[in-house]
C-alpha cells in the first residue's frame, strides 16, 4: 500500500474509485471506476475498507440491487478483484434476507483474516478468512430486542462497527433506528443508549430505538463521539452513559463523523440544515472540536458558499497521517479535502457519481 501518502476509497451510487497521493498529498492519481461495468457486479458501493494488516487488502461492499449484496476484495489496488465465495447470507431459520452491505471493518491486529460487516436488515456478519466467506453473529441476529428495532430512512441497517480496545472480543455497533449495542464476547449484546434522545418518539429516552447516525472512538480509545439523528454526544464510560455536547453548534443534525487520528480530544462532524439536510446557511462546512465538544469551530476555508451539499454518514474520514488529512465526500460528486487538520480545504475530485462513502486509514 501507499506507505507514505494517503489512499482514499470512494464509494458511489455507480461503483467505486480510489485516489492515491504522494507523501505530501499534493499529487493524486485516480483509479476506477470499479463495479460500474462488467465485473459481475454493477452496483452501489456503500462502503469500502482498507486493511493494513494484510499487505493492504481493500474490501468493497457492493449492492447490485437486483442480485444480493456482495463483498469483493483486491490486493493490488484494483488491478484484480476477487468476489467472496460465500457472501453474507442469513441462515434459513432467521427468515431474514440480506439486502445491502453498509459498513466493513477489519478485525484486530492480532486476528489476521478477521473482518466484520454491517448489513441491512440489522445484522453483523464476520469473516475469518479475509473476506472470502461470511457468517452472521447469532447474538445480534436473534436478539430479543429485534422486534422493537425500526428502520431508519435508509433502511434497517447496521452501519457502524467500532472495536472495543477494553476487551478481547468487545465491540460497539450502531444501528438505525435501534441504537448503540455493545458486547464483550460477541454473544451477549446490550443496548448502550442512556442519555441519547429520540426526538421523534413519544418516549424521549428509551433503552433502545435511537437513530444513531455514526460514532467513532478517540485515538486513545477512551472516548466515544456520536452523531445522532438529533444531538451530538460523547461517552467516557464505554457507552454506559452519553452526554449531549451539541451546545454551540448551529444544528445538532448530521450524519457524518470522524475522530482525529492523533488528538484524542478532537473530532469532526458535518452539521446539516433540518429538514432539508443540506449545508447550513448555504455554506459548506465541517465542524471541529478540540476539547471533546466543549467548543466548536466552523471550518470553511476552501469550501464553497452558495452550496447545498448533502454529506451522508460515511461521507467524512481522515487518513491517519500527521497533520491529519480530512476528506468530505458529498452527494454532488465532489470530494473536498484538507491536508492540515481541516484548516484549509480544496477539491480532490469532482463530477463523480453521488458519493456514498469516503474511507482511508
Amino acid at each position: 500500500m501507499n506507505s507514505t501518502g494517503a489512499t482514499v476509497l470512494v464509494g458511489t451510487t455507480k461503483g467505486a474509485f480510489f485516489f492515491i497521493s504522494d507523501p505530501g498529498r499534493r499529487n493524486w492519481k485516480a483509479r476506477g471506476p470499479f463495479f460500474a461495468s462488467d465485473m459481475g457486479a454493477l452496483g452501489e458501493v456503500f462502503h469500502m475498507a482498507l486493511d493494513r494488516r494484510d499487505g493492504g487488502r481493500i474490501y468493497a461492499g457492493v449492492n447490485p440491487g437486483f442480485t444480493g449484496p456482495a463483498v469483493f476484495f483486491t490486493d493490488d489496488l484494483g488491478e484484480s478483484w476477487k468476489k467472496s465465495s460465500k457472501p453474507p447470507r442469513f441462515p434459513k431459520k432467521s427468515k431474514l434476507t440480506a439486502k445491502n452491505i453498509w459498513h466493513i471493518t477489519p478485525g484486530r491486529e492480532d486476528e489476521p483474516g478477521k473482518v466484520y460487516l454491517g448489513l441491512d436488515p440489522h445484522a453483523l456478519f464476520e469473516s475469518d478468512d479475509g473476506g472470502n466467506s461470511w457468517h452472521d453473529v447469532p447474538g445480534l441476529t436473534y436478539h430479543e430486542d429485534r422486534r422493537g428495532w425500526n428502520p431508519g430512512f435508509g433502511g434497517p441497517c447496521l452501519h457502524t462497527i467500532v472495536l472495543d480496545p477494553g476487551s478481547r472480543k468487545g465491540m460497539w455497533v450502531g444501528m438505525s433506528a435501534a441504537g448503540v449495542y455493545h458486547t464483550r464476547d460477541m454473544e451477549k449484546w446490550a443496548p448502550r443508549n442512556r442519555g441519547i434522545r429520540v426526538d421523534f418518539a413519544p418516549v424521549k429516552f428509551p433503552e433502545f430505538g435511537q437513530c444513531v447516525h455514526k460514532f467513532a472512538l478517540s485515538c486513545d480509545g477512551r472516548t466515544l463521539f456520536l452523531q445522532n439523528h438529533g444531538g451530538v454526544y460523547k461517552s467516557e464510560d464505554g457507552g454506559e452513559t452519553w452526554l449531549d455536547i451539541s451546545k454551540g453548534l448551529p444544528s445538532d443534525f448530521g450524519f457524518a463523523l470522524t475522530a482525529h487520528p492523533t488528538d484524542p480530544r478532537a473530532f469532526y462532524i458535518v452539521p446539516l440544515e433540518v429538514p432539508a439536510r443540506f449545508s447550513l446557511g448555504a455554506q459548506a462546512s465541517v465542524y471541529r472540536t478540540r476539547d471533546k465538544g466543549k467548543s466548536w469551530e466552523a471550518l470553511t476555508e476552501g469550501l464553497p458558499g452558495n452550496a447545498y451539499l448533502t454529506v451522508l454518514r460515511e461521507g467524512l474520514c481522515n487518513d491517519g497521517l500527521d497533520p491529519a488529512g480530512v476528506y468530505m465526500g458529498a452527494k454532488n460528486g465532489t470530494i473536498y479535502f484538507s491536508r492540515d487538520d481541516g484548516e484549509h480545504f480544496e477539491v480532490l475530485a469532482h463530477d463523480l457519481p453521488q458519493i456514498l462513502s469516503v474511507s482511508s486509514a
Binding site: 451510487t13 459481475g40 437486483f66 442480485t67 444480493g68 457472501p87 447470507r89 434476507t97
Partner: protein, 93 residues
C-alpha cells in the same frame, strides 16, 4: 429431466460467454435448487437465501413469467428453456 437456464443481461457475466446452464429438475423449484447446488454464484444471484427468486429477477418459461404461472411450483418439460432476465430499471438513474 434436464432443463436449460438462459441468462440475459448482466446476469450473463456470471456464467461465461454462452450464458447457458443445464440442470436437473421437473419444477422451477427443483431446477433452482439444482442450480444453487451446482453453481452457487449464479444461484445466489437469482435466488435469495431462502430459495425465493429475487424481487427484480424474472424467470420466463414458454414465454410467460413464472409469477403468472404457478411460481416456483411450475412444472417443466424435459429440455425446457428457462429465460432469466434482470428487471430493466426505468425511472431511476
Amino acid at each position: 429431466m434436464s432443463v436449460r437456464f438462459v441468462l440475459l443481461g448482466t446476469l450473463k457475466d456470471f456464467c461465461g460467454a454462452s450464458g447457458e446452464l443445464t440442470v436437473k429438475g421437473s419444477t422451477i423449484r427443483e431446477a433452482l435448487e439444482s442450480l444453487q447446488e451446482n453453481n452457487p454464484s449464479v444461484g445466489d444471484s437469482i435466488c435469495d437465501e431462502h430459495g425465493r427468486v429475487r424481487e427484480l429477477i424474472n424467470v420466463f418459461v414458454g414465454g410467460k413469467e413464472i409469477r403468472t404461472l404457478s411460481g416456483e411450483m411450475t412444472k417443466l418439460k424435459d429440455g425446457e428453456e428457462l429465460i432469466v432476465i434482470p428487471s430493466v430499471a426505468g425511472g431511476k438513474e
